[in-house]
Symmetry: C2
Subunit: 254 residues, 2 copies
């Protein structure tokens, strides 16, 4: 993207101010003047770290701030109109949570930390006001909304797939793509959510997901050790979610 983000993610470099933050160019727009950057800095504050399982915000609460994830991972869940619970999204560092519930300015999702995580708070109203004066910020905000919408579309695309192996393949490749954006090693994925939550996100049963990891591993597509997934064969995974390949079958027992 730009010189400032060409290095691998280094948490030690994170600092209190946005200007020095390792996320720069990921969460906030690059190329903002020093003066405006100072104004932004004044608006943003870092919350105290979230422990695994802790809630960032609840569905139904007022939407006042956006949350920039600096470290860790989040999961967004919601209960639909009919009371069915669902997993809506997962957030990685550099991504922004809190955009759900724009409609009535009330969150529709509940967001919890999947591991020890750190977030910065961004007051929505002030950002909006500032955006009228800083075109780059306005663009950034629209991009942010677009990105959120893209994520929903990707989720829909996954749910649209018929076969379970296509869904899991699509999910893993999508995650790898997000890792690449963060300059993380995209071969080694850290699935911080439980198999049950992942299954729920994919619209599958827990057992099906578990079996798929086993089969993918037998086929040499990846190595799965609990939360850690090491991808070995991107090409075949890509082919899978394009539906070009036959289902990944179980090993013959005879």
């Amino acid at each position: 993207m730009n010189a400032g983000t060409d290095r691998v993610f280094d948490l030690a470099q994170l600092d209190r101010t946005c200007a020095m933050c390792g996320m720069r160019g990921l969460c906030l727009p690059d190329g903002i003047g020093a003066e405006d950057m100072r104004r932004l800095d004044a608006l943003i504050r870092e919350k105290k770290p979230l422990l695994a399982g802790q809630t960032l915000y609840h569905a139904g609460s007022a939407m006042r701030t956006l949350y920039l994830l600096r470290a860790g991972s989040l999961m967004s869940t919601m209960v639909d109109a009919d009371g069915t619970p669902m997993v809506h999204a997962f957030y990685l560092p550099g991504e922004v949570a809190g955009l759900d519930g724009l409609h009535e300015r009330r969150h529709r999702c509940t967001v919890v930390a999947l591991e020890r995580s750190r977030v910065c708070e961004l007051p929505l109203h002030e950002i909006q006001n500032l955006a009228c004066r800083i075109p780059d910020l306005k663009e950034w905000f629209l991009d942010l909304l677009g990105h959120e919408s893209d994520q929903d579309h990707e989720h829909l695309a996954i749910m649209n797939k018929r076969r379970a192996d296509e869904r899991l393949a699509a999910f893993l490749l999508g995650l790898a793509r997000r890792y690449r954006r963060l300059k993380r090693d995209h071969n080694t994925l850290s699935l911080t959510m439980s198999r049950k939550d992942l299954a729920c996100y994919l619209g599958l049963a827990e057992e099906t997901v578990s079996r798929l990891f086993t089969r993918f591993q037998e086929r040499g597509l990846l190595e799965a050790k609990r939360k850690t997934i090491r991808i070995r064969d991107f090409a075949t995974l890509s082919g899978l979610c394009r539906g070009e390949l036959s289902p990944v079958e179980e090993k013959m027992s005879a």
Copy 2:
């Protein structure tokens, strides 16, 4: 909502100016001053009517305007990253299309008319500028984005359901709710899309949808005559999509 929209939809009342438009309060915010309303009017123009099957915009085209649907119905389709086609949304009068592709200001979806339809064009950039001066318009725009996001969430909620009858029930009830918002008769739904498109939207096979309509009808939940659906039993349909009821079984043949 407000006094201006308490009457039933009357297409004959539609006029060239927003101030006189029968959609008022649905697409644009009510309670805007006369002066500002005149400015808005100046920005908006009505396109020539779309015939059934005609394309409003193509995926990949630049995102410059929003489209307020005055009459008819639209379908938004997209091809995901892996080349799988999917039906993304349906639009009813008073709803706004064109919000997809906010990310790179390039549409990700292709939108076609399902029947003879009329839309108004709203230049995005100008709306954005005006929004900085008119707080109500800013609120309206955020609400619009929130509404779009809500629709995606509802679609996800449908795809999240396991059983096919739950999905169809949830879709029909959601559509009825939107009819109510428009002051249309929510008992009589006009399914302008083909069974195939509906099946695609629901993540089911065409045949499954067809069978479900037959079974729903046998159970007395609705009357289905091709495109026209008359809902007879909202309570049972609601129970269905809550998963409280057993699957709608086929009639015993003996």
